[in-house]
Amino acid sequence: MAISEQIKNTINGIRGQFPTEQALLIPLLHELQATHGWISIEQLKAAGEFLNLPLSKVREVASFYTMFKLEPWGKVDVQICTNISCWLNGADKLVACAEKKLGIHCGQTSSDGKFTLSQVECLAACGTAPAMMINEDYHESLTEAELEKILDKTKQEVDSGKVVGKSTRKDGVWP
């Protein structure tokens, strides 16, 4: 799959900020990730062609960073922080609650491809633990009841075809 014109424009727009083409790789992968929810090998190849980089450089970078998903991923990426401060403040209960609510274990994607649930390492929201991320948005100081509410709302939104968890994102605008 080729890279859309909009993404190309976004990347071309920040070209002048960096002295090398390679520096644009991570921004480009971010845009692909945000647009498609995951990045296929074809897109990695196209990324390499767009930036004049060998595929090996693209693959080693894409697979190093955990935010880039290289296999099909749920439309809604639910990530619950289970690192120390969140763990001390009951992240376990959130994980259990989300697993029950979504009917999947951490690391799994729901059969309709809408939700992927995972544990994530420290989000730097320890003062408002426990925290989680839904796509790009943080949710903090959570209780199980709030989590359920958020998941219900998200489910509704995603079922009705809305973009969820990207409240501050503007397509075509970096960052």
Binding site: S56, R59, S63
Partner: protein, 514 residues
């Protein structure tokens, strides 16, 4: 162009140690500035500014005391395996000798207690996840992990957890030449740096991070694409990358190792012939910075298979009623003399894959022994190459268009090129070493083949009346002049197992028969 002439010889069993660094001495004279000095294990050594500690050690051949996985003298420094650490006085931490520049007055200890403990630690860690399947591993016997564990490893491991297993990559084809066993990998990433910086093909990639790092072909649908894949198995310190050609063929410790020269192109890479009972199991490159560095191409590496070809002519043959029959040297030679005497014109064609000595023999001795006018010329016939001027590099590394080893050496004898690539005398004697092409022959020309030939090839040549077998490069002594003008002498690496004899023995017999 250099005019160096030397005998190819073995440097060190293990290519991972080979280095061309030489000792240096401060210039003398009143205004001369002395070179900086470093003390390594109590002795003072001069070095060139900019040398790393490892490079100083290489200059004075101390580097075998410094174990390494990721370091390779012909690759960029990674500094990640942490095996080559040494103690530098006044430095708070151990330093990697591969990456730390030597300093004037620096005092280095390569085997202090602290260093030995650190190396034991690295071994302890690397062995935690290694499968220890040495009994079935091709690398056993020449494996850095084994060698270093013998020298530095902990006597026992307390690792009680589950080992990391890459299920799909336990036996995974990276190409038709290379098989990967990721479980054995110690993540030195020499292979990745090789494809990034040496071949520049970028066809290997280490994906994921941390404990899950995994080696993959960059494009899994294509696999490895470079022409130097065999080198991966030379410098892979463990049995992670193995060459299919050698897999499960022979335990490394049974191999006899003799130096020779690869005759597959005009580069003349220095090789080590690994054989047992005169059967060759593989070629590996010998480090020679002037010729091939640490590398050799895959075509050359597996070329020993031609030598071991069951269709190779290893006895004198005469054609009778359309089929070849084994005979004696005397018979085949007297038949040749009869043909030559009855012919109006005779061509003696020398393949450019012949050694310098053989070419001289053909030019200076053979016509005299035949007792008549013989036109001597040379023929190349590989990839459109006629003379050494047509030769060109095929890539930025080693491979050359001229697939014969000694075009320059043959030209040097004053022999002229076979015009138009066509031998049009009534009788043609063609001597070659199994690599030069077959020239065109005039219809009706009687052809006598001499040297290294395969019957499969001979079938396609009309009017072959007899074949005199010869020795191939690794079976004989001689010298080649390579594309850069470097003359390389070699001795037999194995003994020929058939009845083929050296060209000068045939010539001696001819002289006696006269």
């Amino acid at each position: 162009m250099s005019n160096t002439e030397y005998v190819v010889k073995k440097t060190k069993d293990d290519l991972n140690y080979a280095s061309d660094k030489k000792p240096v001495q401060s210039p003398t004279g009143p205004d001369a500035k002395p070179l900086p000095k470093v003390t390594i294990d109590g002795k003072v050594y001069e070095f060139m500014p900019g040398d790393t500690i490892m490079q100083v050690a290489e200059r004075y051949k101390l580097h075998e005391e410094i174990p390494r996985y990721c370091y390779h003298p012909s690759m960029p420094i990674a500094g990640t395996c942490r095996m080559c650490t040494v103690e530098v006085e006044k430095a708070p931490k151990l330093m990697t000798s591969c990456s730390t520049p030597a300093g004037d007055g620096m005092v280095v200890h390569t085997r202090s207690e602290k260093v030995m403990k650190s190396r034991t630690g690295v071994m302890d860690f690397l062995l935690t996840n290694h499968p220890l399947d040495c009994p079935v591993c091709d690398k056993a016997g020449e494996c850095s992990l084994q060698d270093y564990n013998f020298e530095y490893g902990p006597a026992k491991s307390n690792f009680k957890e589950e080992k990391r297993v890459y299920e799909e990559a336990t036996t995974k084809a990276l190409s038709d030449k290379i098989t990967l066993n990721m479980n054995r990998c110690v993540h030195c990433e020499r292979c990745v740096r090789f494809t990034d910086d040496v071949t520049k093909t970028n066809d290997l990639v280490m994906v994921n991070r941390g404990w899950h790092k995994e080696l993959e072909a960059t494009d899994p649908t294509k696999g490895l694409t470079n022409d130097y894949q065999g080198c991966l198995t030379d410098f892979c310190p463990v049995g992670a990358l193995t060459m299919n050609d050698f897999r499960f063929q022979k335990r490394a410790w049974f191999l006899d190792k003799k130096p020779s020269v690869c005759d597959r192109c005009s580069k003349g890479c220095n090789i080590e012939v690994h054989s047992d009972q005169n059967i060759v199991y593989r070629y590996v490159p010998i480090h020679n910075e002037m010729v091939n560095g640490h590398w050799m191409c895959d075509e050359g590496r597996v070329s020993y298979n031609d030598l071991m070809d069951p269709m190779r002519v290893i006895a004198p043959l005469l054609k009778h009623n359309g089929t070849f029959h084994a005979t004696s040297y005397e018979t085949v030679l007297s038949e040749m003399i009869a043909h030559v005497n009855g012919a109006a014109s005779v061509d003696l064609v020398v393949g450019t894959d012949s050694t310098r000595e053989e070419a001289a023999l053909m030019k200076d001795k053979v016509p005299g022994l035949l007792g008549r006018t013989v036109k001597v010329s040379y023929y190349n016939g590989t990839h459109g190459v006629e003379t050494s001027k047509d030769d060109k590099p095929l890539d930025h590394l080693l491979r050359h268009r001229d697939h014969t080893a000694n075009t320059r050496g043959v030209e040097e004898q004053g022999i002229s090129v076979l015009a138009g690539g066509e031998a049009n005398a009534d009788v043609v004697i063609y001597f070659r070493n199994g690599r030069a092409g077959v020239p065109k022959f005039k219809a009706g020309t009687k052809v006598i083949l001499w040297g290294v030939w395969s019957l499969n090839e001979v079938k396609a040549i009309p009017n072959v009346v007899g074949i005199i077998p010869g020795l191939s490069t690794v079976e004989k002594a001689g010298s080649y002049k390579n594309v850069d003008g470097i003359v390389q002498k070699f001795h037999p690496a194995i003994q020929h197992k058939g009845t083929a004899v050296a060209a000068h023995d045939v010539v001696n017999l001819l002289a006696r028969m006269k």
